[in-house]
């Protein structure tokens, strides 16, 4: 029965459209460039320097074509031990086939210097559609001190979504992962927080192909609008303006490129959307990226990030939910990918997060809770993938791309402990996950 369901899902993905989260063939049709020009490995969202520049140029390079695409992901998820409860309302405790997402895109050049990256996502897991990505960018090329520069402004719905280096957002490795597994707690706001529930305006500058500077301000959408666009209102209401900043330096050595950068986010939130005390979040992070592209036959890409978050939970203390006001979260991730002929990929990552112990904030709960009051989680990811298309000489270029992959996530610690982390006897390794996926982009 499950295999029949998978077969059905594959058919749906192949013909109705499905794909990896962020590979958009309408950009390829617009620029005349194959996927490999902008994405190492031949499939999004990992960006080459050329892809970073396309994003910085506001997705507007090339000519106007109908800026529509459809992408989707179908998957199989297996955890080492079945979860205490069903992974979702429509799935089992283990060994689940699913359509993670089918996404309709309005992505491309609208006018000279004006482009979009807008996505409406349907999740078969949640049986629900929502406005996912929303980026409208306008850019203007100019000269500063005789050097080329791009001045741009982005209207978007997620802090960090504008980042051309993609170090901290969901576009960083592993790009796609199962949503049918327990999610560890203590994830910084910048990584997973306000997306979709806010609207921001971010001016940015790209100077001399080397310096990227961006600042943004975000306000909350109204509950009515959030409901209309299908997003879950879980963040609350921003008090004042949430500020976001990014500064990065890139050095292009020709066949290889490296970058270092800083990121920051500051937000005060009324979780219940009522006046009064707020919870305050201050995030800052460092990142370094490296890509050896050579003649594109052997590509190595590496990424290192550190993110720190300080929380001051005045609201939670005033409500009597917490006794402790100040909390810290830290996370580190290092990833390396190798691609042969932009077709055969092997990637690996190590990750670790740790922070303040608080048994009120991180409570024992079967499956997803913490016995120790800590969110500390660490582990590794290994992924191999196959991307047969996406090149200039691919038979269906630039109309269709495909990736098939197998990913394994292993945990050393989960929510504060290796053994009995939830207080109900579940070990971190019980959440070790095999995730097989097929991604299609049309």
């Amino acid at each position: 029965m499950k295999f029949a369901k998978l077969f059905f899902l594959m058919i749906v993905c192949a013909f109705a459209g499905a794909s990896p989260a962020f590979a958009v063939p309408s950009y390829s049709r617009q620029t005349g460039e194959p996927c490999t020009s902008c994405h190492y490995g031949g499939y999004g969202p990992a960006l080459t320097p050329h892809g970073r520049e396309f994003k910085i140029n506001g997705y507007s390079d090339g000519k106007f074509v109908l800026p529509l695409s459809v992408t989707g992901v179908a998957s199989f998820t297996h955890t080492a031990k079945a979860q205490p409860e069903a992974a979702s309302e429509h799935d089992s405790r283990n060994n689940n086939f699913a359509i993670d997402e089918v996404v309709g895109w309005v992505a491309g050049r609208i006018l000279p210097h004006l482009g979009t990256f807008i996505a409406v996502e349907y999740s078969e897991i949640e049986r629900h559609a929502e406005l996912d990505h929303f980026n409208i960018n306008y850019t203007q090329p100019l000269k500063i001190a005789g050097k080329d520069a791009i001045l741009g402004v982005s209207v978007n719905n997620a802090p960090g979504s504008t980042d051309p280096f993609q170090s901290f957002s969901e576009m960083s490795f592993p790009h796609d992962s199962s949503s049918l597994v327990p999610e560890h707690q203590g994830i910084p706001l910048l990584t997973d927080g306000a997306g979709g529930q806010v609207i921001g305006v971010n001016p940015y500058l790209w100077f001399d192909d080397s310096i990227y500077a961006e600042i943004g301000g975000y306000r909350s959408l109204s509950p009515k609008l959030i409901d209309k666009i299908g997003v879950e209102d879980e963040f609350g209401k921003i008090s004042g303006v949430t500020t976001y900043g990014r500064l990065a330096y890139q050095k292009d050595f020709g066949k290889q490129v490296a970058s270092i950068g800083l990121v920051g986010l500051r937000s005060r939130v009324h979780p219940e959307r009522e006046p009064g005390p707020t919870n305050k979040f201050t995030d800052w992070g460092l990142d370094a990226t490296y890509q050896y592209l050579g003649n594109r036959k052997n590509i190595v890409a590496a990424n290192l990030t550190y993110l720190h978050e300080h929380q001051k939970r005045d609201f939670d203390v005033a409500e009597g939910d917490l006794e402790r006001r100040g909390h810290n979260l830290n996370s580190v991730k290092a990833s390396v990918s190798y691609y042969r002929d932009n077709t055969y990929g092997l990637s690996g990552a190590l990750f670790s997060s740790w922070g303040t112990r608080d048994t009120d904030l991180f409570e024992a709960e079967e499956g997803g809770g913490s016995r120790t009051g800590k969110a500390n989680t660490s582990g590794f990811i290994i992924q191999t993938d196959f991307t047969p298309f996406g090149k200039e000489d691919s038979p269906n270029s630039p109309w269709m791309n495909l990736r098939v992959g197998l990913q394994y996530t292993g945990y050393f610690k989960f929510n504060g402990a290796a053994h009995d982390y939830d207080g109900f006897g579940r070990d971190a390794k019980d959440n070790n996950t095999v995730y097989g996926f097929i991604q299609v982009a049309l």
């Binding site: 620029t31 005349g32 460039e33 020009s37 080459t48 050329h50 390079d61 090339g62 000519k63 080329d148 192909d209 020709g254 066949k255 592209l293 050579g294 003649n295 594109r296 036959k297 200039e392 000489d393």
Partner: protein, 130 residues
């Protein structure tokens, strides 16, 4: 015999002076295979050599040798290149690739190939990319 050789050398020197080699000498013949690697590394994001004649961020380079600059249909050239009247041959291409903005200040291509051997090799490749 000796006079003939001297005359040949003199003729070659006069020709070289007349043509000018402003950005380093162009090797007699680049390495086609090495040129393919240079093209893939530095040019292929923006240029195609497919016989389909696809324009990307830059115009198609299929059949570029012997073609007048700025005439590929469907590509919006800078005013400087469109009006240049230049014809692409190994020498003009070598000069251009050494410093694209030096030749066309308003040109769209920012980066060239600073190494003479890279230019010689990619020029050899562009003469018969298929």
């Amino acid at each position: 015999m000796r006079k003939t050789a001297q005359a040949a050398v003199l003729t070659a020197l006069i020709f070289a002076a007349a043509v000018g080699v402003p950005h380093g000498s162009l090797r007699a013949a680049g390495d086609h295979e090495a040129g393919a690697d240079v093209f893939d590394a530095y040019c292929s994001d923006c240029h195609s050599v497919s016989p389909k004649g696809t324009n990307r961020k830059g115009p198609t380079l299929y059949g570029v040798m012997g073609r007048r600059a700025g005439i590929v249909p469907g590509f919006a050239y800078s005013a400087g290149m469109a009006k240049s009247g230049l014809t692409w041959n190994p020498q003009t291409l070598n000069n251009y690739l050494a410093n694209p903005r030096g030749m066309f200040a308003d040109g769209k291509m920012k980066k060239g190939l600073p190494k003479p051997e890279d230019r010689a090799n990619v020029i050899a490749y562009l003469q018969r990319p298929d």
